[in-house]
């Protein structure tokens, strides 16, 4: 059982790492600010979510698990809103020098 859980953790954490990589590639390759914001939010939401999911399988106790979920929700909220704020400023603001 624990071996199966470990395997699942390895799988989800690796998938999370992959999404972080995808987000970074997007950030590096995409041509303009708005599409870069898009790439960033992918890494935020999915990458961290998968890492948290993988760690949830290893969590000791309900409280520790809830804390992990709380960190993810906080990061999600902050990431989403901030991404929106940045996109808003980038659109209205001065064109990139």
């Amino acid at each position: 059982m624990s071996l199966a859980l470990d395997f699942l953790t390895v799988l989800t954490v690796s998938a999370g790492a992959f999404f972080f990589m995808a987000g970074t590639v997007g950030l590096v390759r995409f041509p303009d600010t708005l599409s870069r914001v898009h790439a960033l939010s992918k890494a935020d939401n999915l990458g961290l979510g998968l890492v948290v999911l993988g760690l949830l399988l290893q969590a000791e106790g309900l409280l520790a698990a809830l804390k992990l979920v709380a960190v993810w929700l906080l990061a999600l909220l902050a990431g989403a809103t901030v991404t929106q704020l940045i996109a808003h400023t980038a659109r209205e603001g001065v064109p990139p020098a």
Partner: protein
């Protein structure tokens, strides 16, 4: 397991560092704040992995603080950007 989690944390940081190297150069301030945001998320993920790998549960608290304050820094940026435009006009 601990070795795998530590390795994953290292991989995440390395990935994020590549993005950081590209994006810190700009061209705009929005890109730069995005770089900090990306590093923030990567740092949170790395801290959560470290907490498990090193058995330091308090690292989860550190991650929570980072999640909370990442928003704060970006908000300060958005307000600052708005203000400096106002000064220019």
């Amino acid at each position: 397991m601990a070795d795998f989690l530590l390795g994953a944390a290292g991989f995440l940081l390395a990935t994020v560092a590549v993005g950081l190297a590209r994006i810190l150069r700009g061209p705009g301030d929005a890109e730069r704040i995005m770089a900090a945001q990306l590093l923030g998320t990567g740092g949170i993920a790395a801290l959560l992995l470290l907490a498990k790998a090193m058995s330091v549960p308090a690292a989860v608290d550190v991650a929570m603080i980072l999640a909370l304050l990442a928003a704060f820094v970006s908000v300060a940026f958005v307000k600052g950007a708005g203000r400096s435009q106002g000064d220019r006009a």
